[in-house]
């Protein structure tokens, strides 16, 4: 009932640096996981799962990936869509070559291909910084987009130039392809996202996370205290792209069922970047909040006028979505550069001292 930490004393440094140091938070996360894993699949409609929850989770993972690179290591990337695409196409080719191997394993493996691409396109970060680097990542975005269109081998020479997901099962239940139910796919996505979020939180709380943040805050000083910049930056690129790659593979295999190069173009990169900015640079929780807000925004804009019996053209909704998105980005950068995650923290702090704030 009351959000208090009084009386909870930490007696070890391990407990002090735990992910959820406060008992109430521990209860909270268990509750959230219970709802997400059990209640939602049992009660939510297919529509709610397939057009709201699954995509939010998929985009959250991509946003976490970008956040590790941009929010934690300070390297601004505009190539997220491309790296997601590498994951998706790699997964498709793997599924073609190794039909016998479990699809979840393949989805994870495809992350390694994205990581390799990330390292390759991250190499310029050793010489250049800031805007220059973001232009370099733009190069990777356009190059990869071009590959997805011009190399027919990637989509098995389909006439439609798109990838169609084959049906694969896990424990006898179909998890990909047309026969898999939204709920099953949702649970697989949720499991992957939960585990990978936990792993990311481990990374950023330890040595690697600190070296990333050190490079972000002041790379010269970081080098002078013994941090190797090239290792640190390339590792950030690799891990970030791994996350994006897995997200891309999930986007195709566990959500859309098929995809074209369009799904991985520059606009996708921007959308993920906006999720990170609005959610909060340098916050894992923010990645989820940002994904939810940006994915939810057009849905809200589409449905709200319906309540008032107004009919607005689909194109108009799209235009308004763009405007709102742009305005939100600017608004957040001005008012709360640390994004929704910071607002959440402030809320928690208020709760801690409620009802006597002084």
């Amino acid at each position: 009932m009351f959000y208090r930490e009084a009386g909870q004393f930490k007696t070890t440094y391990a407990a002090d640096s735990a992910l959820f140091p406060i008992l109430q938070d521990k209860i909270g996360i268990v509750l959230i996981l219970f709802v997400a894993f059990i209640l939602v699949p049992l009660t939510a409609s297919d529509f709610a799962i397939d057009s709201i929850l699954t995509p939010i989770l998929v985009f959250s993972l991509a946003a976490i990936g970008l956040n590790l690179l941009t929010g934690y290591t300070g390297l601004l990337s505009l190539g997220t869509g491309g790296f997601m695409g590498v994951g998706a196409y790699a997964c498709y080719k793997l599924a073609t070559f190794f039909p016998g191997i479990n699809i979840v394993v393949l989805i994870i493996c495809s992350g390694f291909f994205a990581a390799a691409a990330g390292i390759l396109f991250g190499l310029p970060s050793l010489r250049i910084k800031g805007f220059y680097l973001s232009v370099a990542t733009l190069a990777s975005q356009f190059f990869l987009s071009w590959c997805f269109i011009r190399i027919p081998w990637l989509y098995n020479y389909n006439v439609s130039a798109s990838i169609e997901v084959p049906t694969r099962t896990l424990f006898g239940v179909p998890v990909t392809g047309p026969t898999a139910t939204p709920a099953t796919r949702y649970i697989v996505v949720l499991a992957i996202v939960s585990i990978m979020t936990w792993l990311a939180s481990n990374l950023i709380r330890g040595r690697i996370g600190r070296t990333w943040m050190a490079v972000r805050d002041m790379d010269i000083a970081a080098e002078l205290i013994g941090i190797k910049l090239y290792q640190t930056k390339l590792l950030a690129f690799a891990v970030s792209s791994f996350y994006c790659g897995v997200a891309g593979a999930m986007l195709v295999f566990l959500w859309l069922g098929n995809a074209e190069s369009e799904s991985f173009n520059i606009n996708q990169s921007f959308l993920i970047l906006f999720m990170v900015i609005i959610g909060g640079l340098g916050s894992l929780l923010g990645s989820f909040l940002g994904a939810a807000l940006i994915w939810g925004l057009p849905i809200v804009l589409r449905t709200v006028p319906g309540f008032f019996n107004l009919s607005i053209k689909a194109a108009t909704v799209e235009h308004i979505t763009f405007m709102t998105l742009g305005a939100l980005i600017i608004l957040f950068l001005i008012a709360e550069p640390n994004g929704l995650a910071r607002l959440w923290q402030i809320g928690k702090q208020k709760l801690r001292v409620w009802p006597f704030p002084y």
């Binding site: 300070g74 601004l76 310029p124 010489r127 250049i128 800031g130 805007f131 220059y132 973001s134 232009v135 370099a136 733009l138 190069a139 356009f142 190059f143 987009s145 071009w146 269109i149 011009r150 190399i151 010269i220 000083a221 002078l224 520059i266 921007f270 970047l273 906006f274 900015i277 194109a315 108009t316 799209e318 235009h319 308004i320 979505t321 763009f322 405007m323 709102t324 998105l325 742009g326 305005a327 939100l328 980005i329 600017i330 950068l333 001005i334 550069p337």
Partner: protein, 318 residues
């Protein structure tokens, strides 16, 4: 072997055997390059004076062109529409200064950079909402711009030059020249250069930052409008041009962020490289390489000369 031949020998043989086509390609590259230069010029203006890397410059080009055609379509005479669009760009400059730059003053450059992403998206949504999302035809006829082309018989073939392209090249040169004079000779120009060097020092000698910002954003808006008209005359006006507008970024990398000559030379190098690459090497890779060739040229260049063609080497201090 054959592939090596195709990559390293054959294109040059083609250039030699059909020189008229080569010249035609050079011309195309040059014209594209001039347009890239113009977009880059807008970037450089804003970056010099406010330290903002304005990602939205490309969108401002499309926005200005769209507004011009949009006004005309609503029955406004062409030259009045031009005037109205200029006023619109002034309003935009004021709005940007008041709503984005002023609240974000003293923030990290990267924050301002990201804010211009927001501006980009806002302008796309706003432009399409007001003027519609369908591609439009530029009103070059009504504005009195030349159409048609010259056929020049040379080198055993024909080289075709669109009159509008020639006009674009002339207008671009005039614009650069007048900007140069403006920067060097006028009081505001001197203030601009002072602000570019150091915001705080400029403030301390009584230069109004707000005023300077409005002026440069307005100047960049005018440059954007001119670019938009030229570009629109060559193809349709729609936000699909956004992708092409982003090509100004590699141009900047080549030329340096603060150098107007750099923007011009960089634009022409990128334009030429891209068209020649596409025409002679593109078929080998299944065409469309001009989508990314510019970036790769810039990237390779960046690895060897991080400060750009005309930029100065920066000594890191701590």
């Amino acid at each position: 072997m054959h592939l090596l031949y195709q990559i390293f020998i054959d294109p040059f043989v083609q250039m030699g055997t059909a020189p008229d086509l080569f010249v035609q390609t050079l011309w195309e590259g040059l014209v594209t390059g001039v347009l890239y230069s113009l977009i880059a010029l807008g970037f450089v203006l804003i970056f010099k004076a406010s330290g903002v890397f304005n990602f939205a410059q490309g969108i401002m080009v499309v926005f200005a062109a769209l507004a011009l055609v949009g006004f005309y379509e609503h029955g406004v005479p062409a030259y009045l529409a031009l005037g109205l669009t200029i006023v619109l760009m002034l309003i935009l400059a004021f709005a940007v200064e008041r709503l984005i730059l002023r609240p974000l003053v003293n923030q990290a450059e990267i924050i301002l950079f990201m804010a211009t992403f927001g501006l980009t998206y806002f302008l796309i949504g706003f432009g399409e909402l007001i003027f519609g999302g369908d591609p439009k035809v530029m009103i070059s006829g009504a504005l009195g711009l030349p159409s048609g082309s010259y056929q020049i018989k040379t080198l055993g073939g024909f080289v075709q030059m669109q009159k509008i392209d020639i006009a674009a090249a002339i207008i671009a040169s005039l614009m650069v020249a007048s900007l140069g004079i403006f920067f060097q000779k006028t009081r505001i120009g001197r203030a601009l250069r002072a602000v570019a060097d150091s915001h705080r020092a400029a403030l301390s000698v009584g230069i109004s930052l707000e005023q300077i910002w409005v002026i440069v954003w307005f100047a960049a808006g005018i440059v954007a409008l001119a670019t938009g008209i030229m570009w629109g005359a060559r193809s349709n006006v729609s936000f699909a041009l956004e992708i092409i507008a982003l090509k100004a970024l590699p141009v900047l990398i080549l030329g340096g962020f603060t150098s107007i000559p750099g923007a011009i030379v960089g634009g022409i190098i990128i334009g030429l490289g891209e068209k020649i690459g596409e025409f002679y090497w593109g078929p080998l890779f299944g065409s469309g390489i001009e989508d990314w060739l510019a970036y790769v040229i810039a990237l390779v260049f960046l690895l060897f000369r991080p400060q750009g063609l005309f930029g100065e080497r920066i000594i890191e201090r701590i």
